[in-house]
């Protein structure tokens, strides 16, 4: 048995041990007095010294401190409540933000053994793609010796009978549920060798679409008008492998039956839709071993398919149990920009903003503790005079802060978890995301609380214990910091709100209000370019005959659409995101984009491009762009026209410019139609759907008015503006609370002086000025720092602001104005007390 175990056993039976020791010492005294020795010394002290041997005395002292601290806090419930509320607010906002980050990036998906899952991407020195052709995946699956299982997923929308919204379908390999450890709520899931046309429903879909029908298993659904039997419903906690909402899972082997003409299972071409691939690492192997094996397999496959498999192709792996934002569908040249890189500035911004809230809350807490320290001067003086050492005093005061921190952290944790829960509902997050705090979040909350207690509890404790009076400086720094922090938050909120109102009011360079998008996605149905051209041209001609339709045209990327093709271009060190679109000659008329110079494309024209005015200015600032080549080495891109700038691809990005090229013969299957009407665009949807159905009943175009697309584009901006505004107002309220407290305190401290001044004939204005003057310097300094900080921080937002400057004077003046007015009111309200001071009473006092 080790010392430690004995120590612990002693600790558990401490009361009994202590009684035994006392008894033993009493016996010793008895024996000694029997033999005539009367003075055995202080038994109590002896007992304490003997107990010291076990090393647990600190617990007693801590217990004492805690009991004392609890008594002190309970004695001033107003102070305690305010302090805990401040901390809870500051920590809660941080817990919510960290909890969200933790859910998305740090915690594993709730699947079996997430650590051995890898997700794969095609990678070559000059290209990347997140999707693999199915047969390629199949080849790897057949030949791999490093993976114990390979999973694949193909996601698509399928029409659903009696529903205007399509069902989000995931076609998966038959091992998908068994490998991920999915469980069935009712019925069964897909199993190895499932070949029948069956469907598994997600819990959410079962609730929404079937009203949680307990008899759902065995029913038939019609997906893309193809009947399919429901075999089971997955539990709500089944996540699948990314954050995307799923309605139904189907065996991937049956995919061609649902999408007529689909070549998903047979085509080696990387241009067609493919599958996302995951693998389960065999025990003891590293991801590197898998990547090496895959490079060899790819080289082998390239001998048979030299066009489809890239030179030096390999599969790059990522931890598959953790990457939740991988939605597939990305492909391009060069090295991919990882999602993490794109998210980094947002993360920096959000964490700065929530830390600012904590700073404001802690500033208030610091002021509160300082004020309390002053109120306790008497008590502390007494404790010093009866022999309390300064170390013991600091420990005592610090214990109080720690107790506050624990209370604040706990309340903050509860608040944060509540906010996060609401946030997840608000953003339509999948139901398996569990907002209950895990050990990371709890550790984070406690850490935040202790850090806050250290920073804002220790300094006042030291000052009070040393009986030093540098409080005024500390106070002024605290108030300045609070002003600065809340000012930054208000300005950022102001910028986002401004950007939003600007986005709604601005003319984006094209007219979307009366246009609709018709996305036929013919490639999915195996249409050849020739057939697709016939289909689209026929449909376009028939849509033109609908009464009210003014213009119809074909494009590769719809304005405000989900798909956009971006070419990053650098000229003389300046960077521009060039949104590339392939359009026919009627596009500019349909979207009402003015053609400033030159001409539109002629039918079947090649080797010509039209650029936006913004791009022309960027590329040829002092020259005439007409007739120029964009890239001198590529004579296919000669500028024939200049169109007005129209940020069809990125409403919010001021650095975006547009490049239009003629439609190429092989891209017909992926084109979309857009149409403009003189009437209400909503009324166009039904007749178009009917026309499409009569033309090919197996093709189900996705129809959307551009008004709706516009609204969808603005949704994230609306959400973030709302969230940041809430943060900004919270900070403002906190800062005002702090100011109210400070001014009240200042007035109470100076009652006598004010009385004398009034007795000598000071006017109300003079009295107010003398009370408030000490706050003007820190408030002005805080405002300046806040404006500077906001200007620096908001650079991260530049491309999210719909074209307004991140130094937009309206937003800055507005935010500062709101702050100054509110803060002045907050200061004047308690300062009125100064005017009510009765000169005689004040002078007689003391």
């Amino acid at each position: 048995m080790s010392d430690l175990l004995r120590r612990l056993r002693y600790l558990l039976g401490r009361g009994r041990h202590d009684a035994e020791l006392a008894d033993e010492l009493e016996f010793h005294r008895e024996m000694a007095s029997r033999q005539g020795r009367a003075n055995v010394g202080n038994l109590l002290r002896l007992r304490e010294e003997s107990r010291d041997a076990w090393g647990w005395t600190w617990i007693d002292r801590l217990g004492q401190d805690l009991r004392y601290a609890t008594r002190m806090l309970a004695k001033s419930p107003g102070f305690t409540l305010t302090a805990v509320a401040m901390l809870a607010l500051g920590i809660g906002v941080n817990v919510a933000a960290f909890g969200f980050f933790n859910l998305i990036f740090l915690s594993a998906l709730p699947v079996r053994d997430p650590d051995s899952l890898l997700s794969f991407q095609r990678r070559a020195p000059q290209a990347y793609a997140s999707d693999l052709p199915y047969p390629v995946m199949d080849f790897y699956r057949e030949h791999t010796r490093t993976l114990s299982a390979v999973l694949a997923l193909h996601s698509t929308d399928l029409t659903l009978e009696n529903s205007s919204k399509p069902a989000k379908a995931h076609f998966v390999t038959d091992n998908y549920f068994t490998e991920l450890g999915g469980a069935a709520q009712m019925g069964r899931l897909l199993e190895a060798g499932t070949t029948a046309p069956v469907v598994v429903l997600s819990y959410g879909f079962w609730q929404r679409h079937l009203g949680g029908d307990p008899q759902a298993v065995g029913k038939t659904l019609r997906l893309n008008q193809h009947p399919v039997v429901v075999v089971g419903v997955a539990v709500p906690g089944f996540s699948g492998l990314n954050l995307n909402q799923v309605d139904v899972w189907l065996p991937i082997a049956r995919q061609p039956e649902f999408v007529s003409g689909s070549e998903l299972l047979t085509s080696y071409s990387g241009d067609a839709n493919g599958v996302q691939m995951w693998g389960r690492l065999k025990p003891g192997l590293t991801p590197k071993a898998v990547e090496d094996e895959m490079s060899g397999l790819a080289a082998e496959l390239r001998k048979r398919y030299p066009k489809e498999i890239w030179e030096n192709e390999t599969l790059a792996s990522e931890p598959g149990g953790y990457v939740k934002l991988n939605g597939g569908g990305q492909r391009g040249t060069g090295t991919p920009v990882s999602g993490r890189e794109k998210l980094f500035p947002i993360l920096v911004l959000v964490s700065s903003l929530v830390l600012l809230i904590l700073a404001v809350a802690c500033g208030n807490l610091g002021s509160l503790l300082l004020a309390r320290g002053v109120a306790r001067e008497r008590e502390i003086a007494i404790r010093v005079s009866v022999g309390a050492g300064s170390g013991r005093l600091v420990r005592q005061l610090f214990t109080e802060s720690l107790l506050l921190a624990i209370l604040g952290s706990t309340a903050g944790l509860a608040l944060g978890a509540g906010v996060l829960r609401y946030l997840l509902i608000f953003t339509d997050a999948p139901e398996w995301l569990n907002p209950a705090p895990d050990w990371r979040v709890i550790g984070f909350a406690l850490g935040m609380g202790f850090a806050a207690a250290m920073l804002f509890g220790l300094t006042p404790a030291l000052q009070v214990a040393r009986q030093q009076h540098r409080r005024t400086v500390a106070r002024q720094v605290l108030i300045g910091a609070q002003v600065a922090a809340s000012c930054i938050l208000l300005i950022v909120a102001g910028l986002l709100v401004r950007a939003l109102t600007h986005a709604v009011a601005m003319h984006p360079g094209f007219e979307y209000q009366q246009a609709v998008t018709i996305d036929t996605d013919l490639g999915r149905y195996g249409y050849s370019p020739g057939r697709a051209k016939v289909y689209l041209e026929t449909l376009a001609n028939r849509v033109r005959e609908i009464p009210g339709v003014q213009s119809v045209s074909m494009v590769s990327s719809a304005p405000l659409g989900r798909r956009t093709s971006i070419i990053g271009m650098v000229v003389d060190g300046r960077r521009v995101d060039l949104h590339s679109n392939h359009v026919d000659g009627k596009y500019f008329e349909t979207m009402k984009i003015p053609l400033l110079r030159g001409r539109v494309f002629e039918p079947e024209e090649k080797n010509a491009v039209i650029v936006s005015e913004s791009f022309a200015r960027f590329r040829w600032p002092n020259e005439d762009p007409l007739g120029k080549l964009i890239d001198p080495s590529n004579n296919r891109q000669r500028v024939v026209g200049i169109a007005g700038s129209a940020r069809t691809g990125a409403l919010k990005d001021p650095d975006a410019a547009e490049l239009y090229s003629p439609i190429e013969a092989e891209e017909w299957p992926s084109l979309l139609l857009i149409a403009r009407t003189s009437g209400r665009p909503e009324e166009l949807l039904a007749p178009v759907a009917a026309l499409a159905k009569s033309q090919d009943p197996l093709v189900f175009p996705a129809l959307e008015t551009m008004k709706e697309s516009f609204r969808r584009k603005l949704e994230p901006a609306e959400r973030s503006a709302a969230a940041i505004s809430v943060l900004g107002l919270t900070a403002l309220a906190l800062a005002c609370l702090g100011i109210v407290g400070l001014v009240t305190y200042a007035v109470s401290q100076r009652t006598k002086e004010i009385g004398i001044r009034m007795a000598l004939g000071a006017r109300p204005g003079d009295v107010l000025r003398s009370v408030l003057r000490q706050f003007s310097v820190p408030v002005i300094a805080g405002l300046l720092v806040g404006v500077g900080g906001a200007a620096a921080l908001s650079q991260l937002l530049r491309r999210e602001l719909y074209g307004i400057s991140h130094l937009d004077p309206t937003a800055y003046l507005g935010a500062v104005g709101v702050f100054v007015v509110t803060a002045t009111l907050a200061a004047l309200w308690p300062a009125r007390q100064a005017l009510r001071v009765d000169p005689l009473g004040a002078l007689r006092h003391e």
């Binding site: 004995r6 002693y10 035994e20 008894d23 016996f27 010793h28």
Partner: protein, 108 residues
């Protein structure tokens, strides 16, 4: 009676040594050391009981309830196997240090 301060560390050694003969209670330990040292060494309560607690913590003795010569319930300390080993080691160490000191005193 001349009062001799106990050299540090020696008290533990003496306690273990007097317990070798059999279990004793705290007061008896002090008395036995006092008597055996021909009344030269006085063990103060202030050092005896903290030392006993330390020895308990080390696991060299165990405490059991017993009845004193005055018919009172009291704790008796008994040497454990580990305590015996510790005593041998300390005695050995003490002898060697003692011899070394004697050697220096004789020759210097």
């Amino acid at each position: 009676m001349p009062k001799i301060d106990m050299p540090p560390g020696a008290l533990v050694l003496l306690i273990l040594r007097v317990l070798r003969a059999g279990p004793l209670h705290g007061y008896a330990i002090a008395q036995r050391i006092h008597a055996l040292s021909a009344e030269v060494l006085r063990v103060e309560e202030g050092s005896l009981y903290p030392a006993l607690q330390k020895i308990l913590l080390k696991g060299w003795v165990t405490a059991e309830w017993g009845t004193s010569e005055t018919n009172r319930k009291v704790r008796f300390y008994e040497l454990t196997a580990a305590g015996r080993k510790q005593l041998e080691a300390e005695l050995d160490g003490y002898d060697r240090v003692n011899e070394a000191i004697q050697a220096v005193l004789r020759t210097a």
